[in-house]
Symmetry: C2
Subunit: 379 residues, 2 copies
Amino acid sequence: MKQPGGIRFGINFVPTVGPEERSAARYFDESLNLAARAEALGLGSARITEHYFYDYGGYCPDPVTFLSALAQRTTRMRLCTAGVTPAFSHPIRIASQLAMLDNLSHGRLDAGFARGFVPHEFDAFGVALEESRSRFEEGVSAITWLWTQPEATWRGRYHAFGPVRLLPLPYQQPHPPIWVVTTFSPELFEWSGRNGYHLMAVPYISTHENTANLVGIYRRAWEAAGHRRGAEQVQLSLHCYIAEDGATARREAKRYYEEYTTKLLQAVGAWSSRRVAAYAGYQNLGRAIEANAYEGVLRETKALIGSPREIVEQVAYLRGWYGDFEASLQFNFASVPDDAAHRSLELLGTAVLPALREQGLTTSLDGSAPPGPNRPRGC
Amino acid sequence: MKQPGGIRFGINFVPTVGPEERSAARYFDESLNLAARAEALGLGSARITEHYFYDYGGYCPDPVTFLSALAQRTTRMRLCTAGVTPAFSHPIRIASQLAMLDNLSHGRLDAGFARGFVPHEFDAFGVALEESRSRFEEGVSAITWLWTQPEATWRGRYHAFGPVRLLPLPYQQPHPPIWVVTTFSPELFEWSGRNGYHLMAVPYISTHENTANLVGIYRRAWEAAGHRRGAEQVQLSLHCYIAEDGATARREAKRYYEEYTTKLLQAVGAWSSRRVAAYAGYQNLGRAIEANAYEGVLRETKALIGSPREIVEQVAYLRGWYGDFEASLQFNFASVPDDAAHRSLELLGTAVLPALREQGLTTSLDGSAPPGPNRPRGC
């Protein structure tokens, strides 16, 4: 089932440094430069998370603010929120802010949404974790409604408003492509496919067998709902660390990967004492992350770490599991120094991508041809 | 009471076009270019409003998203939100988003807040107009608290959270200067001065006598609370339209000024049937705007419209009313064409500012030396 684009590539930011290691101003400067260079090397998208309070993601509580800056530094790459959490803001705020970015970037927004999974974030916003799924679904629906109705009226479980005329409307018509960030929940994979939304999956915490099964659920739901086969897009978030010599890459990346998982553990630590039906198995999340040792990640190719030649093999291997996908690569995760992140990126652009192209694994180096917005529900 | 900076200048955006007249993408492109040119010509700040739904302000529901883009196009000018409305978002969202902008711009944020005054906005967000003042005050206090406490806990009337560690913290320490947008309310002028906040006033709807009295209340409250005399800052929002020939400027600007007030009237039309104690006199706002005809605005110098030589005289006249202030100038209000806005700006930068400097009315052309953040309360 070869797709026109083959494997595509983007850059992915999950800020995992705190003020003790790197100032926020420096993190943003470095990340904007890195993303601008990624576009120049042919990567087709940039995405960044929304998180709070912890070194895990905390430097970016508002992905739109970062991507709006990036829109001025780039001209082609897609700008992906990964993802905005509807539970924490009013849908009018989210819909209108995203529409501003879509206009500021001349239609380069990929609107990614997330249910959220960090208990302390929900506590701080005074939102029950039990409601995260229903708030997420209502939020995405209300935002789409605001984007597409000339006079939008909404009467939901959590929000009621209207009629209002949203301003500005999105640049992309009928609305920007919608993406969903999801990791474990089969229901959410199914729901995303059924609704014609694109998928942002995170394979490194689970096994490829599990994640590929979930992606399969997503793709079957997409087709079953009548969406055009092959038009669905799947992004996989992957840590990436490349050096001329593969052993060097593996040796150097170890501490950063482990720092990253340590910081993720801090953010999800509260799950060890929480039981929420909607988050089945999350009480074991900490143990799962701890058990997911660096050596296993290397062995099972749950990150792209190695020499350029090895990365080519790893991409081909992942394609065996997932079919065509977009590799959304974290280069400056945790305390990876700026020069090391740039080295990985340069080797990707100058050695890995040309080799993949030669093998026919990626037909479009820049991957930047924007997909059409997903069709309205039920098509 | 001459201040070091004399009269300073900035650029001011209140988008007052709708999709029928100019696309949002084009409005943003033009405005970013205009602001970047303003910096090059020596203007020290850019500010933009937060509004929804109406041609009056509706293109910018999120000032931070616009200013984050502008931060990448400029290196010196202050970036002012004018103002963020705390009633419509959670304080954690506002505090952390503003802190991102402060870091992205390396400390150029002027954090302006507004109570809000458009009934339909409050209706849409499900917030009672009666609560606007208390929500505003609690919001500003909670945001400041989040910016300055390593572990912030808040138990207020509308919000309760914490302890949380805000990330990122602002670039400016202890926090960005706080500004308050206010027009009519003596209580709010007094409150702003007492708390050591800077002032964004809007003289054109009222008389200079009224507005100067209110600014006097503000300055006296500032001094009475022990804040350093002369450290307070007062920004006046003014429409600006300049041509080599003054009569041409006055003739051309008329239709844009009238379009602007028509659109403002649409946004505040609901006041004709509302009575809210906290908005004394707002039921007459529509009539006041209608009565404020263009000819009167010219006669009373409630906008800067004319030839460069006339603008110099107008600035000197306003200084008589207000002492030193920052003129925050709307060049592309309503449907003013892009080339006309640029003409006004160029004439300001190349003819008006040099003349003012010669007269000693502005000692700093760029006005960009950032003021220190306002001191903590009670100093």
